[in-house]
Amino acid sequence: MDLGAINPILLIAALMSAATPILLAATGELVVERSGVLNLGVEGMMIVGAICGFAIAVETGSPMIGFVAAAVGGAALSLLFALLTQVALANQVASGLALTLFGLGLSALLGQSYVGVKPPRMGDVDFGLLADIPVLGPILFSHDPVLYIGVLLVAAVWATLKLTRLGLILRAVGENHDAAHALGYKVVRIRTLAIMFGGALAGMGGAYISLIRVPQWTEGMTAGVGWIALALVVFASWKPWRVLLGAYLFGGITQLQLNLQGAGVAIPVEYLAMSPYIITIVVLVILSADRSAAPGSLGRTFHASN
């Protein structure tokens, strides 16, 4: 056993990168759930984003255009979910699961000719001298641009929800759609936009895996990350900054687990892999004292009866 081999600075830098896909997807899903919609199709939207981003990045040679394409792809798929749940008033749980099934198949079809292709690499942001600061440099100033965009998005979502009229309307719709409707807000339109925002972010999260973290395209490569993102939203009790904290915590558990193994510590891998989910359940129980945590209309179908 050689715990000295673990470099905490590198560990933190690594977990930030590892956490970015779930951070992006969970931030998007948070907005969706805050608007009162439960979209279980995160995994499907992520993998479609992963292939859209990958394909476009390969074709154009620009990872940044790839990320835009991933956002568009994820949003386009989520529009299907919006059609089903907002227009056709179908059940959200079933629609989300169907969306994941569909997305996994669609991405595999789209990606057939991209197996084994190497995508263009995205460089790190150049902070100049800042990157050379001991400790802080490697942790804060040595990442790719999308990682920073992810953190900025968390801040933007927080500010929007907390400080703006738009955020107020979104929360009102999520808390009580009938009341919001009575106040004259267009529930369906707002929710559709929220769903598409969630889809776009999930798509970017997927592309982060296929373009930066791995980077390659293979069928089913998101391997369940979308489900962790769903857990994360709950863990964060629908609060943006806690999503960031939770993403780093979830990412950190995985990173620490791998590092401990490398250092020769015998750990029960399966039981550690369970821990994020068990922690989430515990958090749910603790949160239950605060009944205001979950959006009041979460998962309920809305129809404006006249």
């Binding site: 169907a98 569909f102 857990a231 399966e270 039981y271």
Partner: protein, 360 residues
């Protein structure tokens, strides 16, 4: 301007018509997809839907429909009770795994002793495992008001890790040369959930599914508890006045669905699957949620929906091997079918009105 208007009563005609329309729409769009992939669309669709039922080897595929459909129906029946009452168990996959683990573990504990009591014991253990796993979200909801959707979903992942641990550890076949996975229960007579009539596909899991369907039908139509389920779903406040105890209903609905999912897992592991392995679960618990909704939460509808899903799996595999369709195309096709079935159900409860609308 087109707008939706809620029907005073759900339309019976549309309840029967929409699934047919959905299947037809899927044929059209699926056909376009298959044609785009360079396959004959008519032949592709016939291979998926006709071949298993009436093709040359239908004698083999029809029993397979029972084998593939039974766990889906068994789980979906349990889920539908809760869904009707607005209690959302989406962790059936985890309960399925725990049922299989408890049941198989019970049986393997007696290996190699033979006794007629072992299989019944496994059935009880399997039901208990699923029930216990569902009791976690149930009790947390009753005691703390936590969201059962999320707790039950989280527990799926806990169960999957537990399954991996058991396959590599406690339940690993001691004579398996170190490979993961338990002994094969098909080769342990007292624990084997064999076909009741060879070649018929009928095993105890199919029987259990049929019993569950009848039980659910009678419960919902005749029993006080069924009334409580329905009224809670339709009008939660009215239910309280009608003397429904919400806590007890939560425990009943989650418990029953967990129990049935656990049974499905046990019958699968002791019969068609044969052994506990890392990848033992193949998503029946999630597919069953879709089946429950496709069946409109009605016992008979669920049977039909379960068989339809089974048909697309079996037909899809045939189309892969006979026509060279990629598995992904079949998945997309299934996704389309689900979308149309879910979307068109709208017309059962709503009708389209064409006319002027006041700004909503």
């Amino acid at each position: 301007m087109i707008r939706l208007e809620k029907r005073p009563q759900p339309s019976r005609a549309f309840a029967y018509l929409t699934p047919v329309l959905a299947v037809l729409a899927t044929f059209v769009f699926g056909g376009i997809l298959f044609a785009a992939l360079g396959k004959d669309p008519v032949q592709s669709i016939l291979t998926i839907f006709w071949e298993p039922l009436f093709g040359e080897f239908a004698f083999f595929y029809r029993p397979q429909l029972l084998i593939k459909g039974a766990p889906l129906v068994l789980i979906a029946i349990g889920l539908s009770l809760g869904f009707k009452a607005g209690i959302w168990n989406i962790g059936a996959e985890g309960q399925y795994i725990m049922g299989a683990l408890c049941g198989a573990g019970f049986g393997l504990a007696f290996y190699p002793a033979e006794s007629a009591l072992i299989f019944p014991g496994m059935v009880l253990a399997g039901a208990f495992g699923g029930w216990l796993w569902a009791m976690i979200p149930a009790l947390l909801k009753v005691r703390f008001g936590t969201n059962e959707i999320l707790v039950s979903l989280m527990l799926v992942y806990v169960a999957e890790q537990f399954l991996a641990s058991m396959s590599l550890g406690l339940l690993k076949n001691p004579e398996g040369f170190g490979f993961p996975g338990s002994r094969n229960l098909q080769q342990y007579q007292s624990a084997h959930n064999a076909e009741l009539i060879a070649g018929s596909g009928m095993h105890w899991g199919v029987v259990a599914a049929l019993i569950a369907v009848i039980f659910a039908y009678v419960l919902l139509a005749r029993h006080r508890l069924g009334f409580a389920v329905r009224v809670t779903g339709d009008a939660p406040r009215a239910a309280r006045f009608a003397g429904v105890n919400p806590s007890r209903l939560i425990l009943f609905c989650l418990g029953t669905s967990g129990l049935l999912a656990g049974l499905a897992g046990l019958f699968e592991v002791a019969g068609p699957a044969g052994q506990v392995s890392i990848d033992f679960n193949v998503g029946y618990g999630f597919t069953a949620i879709i089946v429950a909704f496709l069946g409109r939460l009605h016992p008979v509808g669920i049977v039909l929906a379960g068989l339809l899903m089974a048909l697309t799996y079996i037909g899809g595999d045939i189309a892969q091997s006979q026509l060279g369709l990629p598995a992904a195309a079949i998945q997309v096709f299934q996704g389309m079918l689900l979308f149309f079935l879910l979307a068109l159900d709208l017309f059962t409860n709503y009708r389209l009105r064409i006319g002027r609308v006041e700004t909503a």
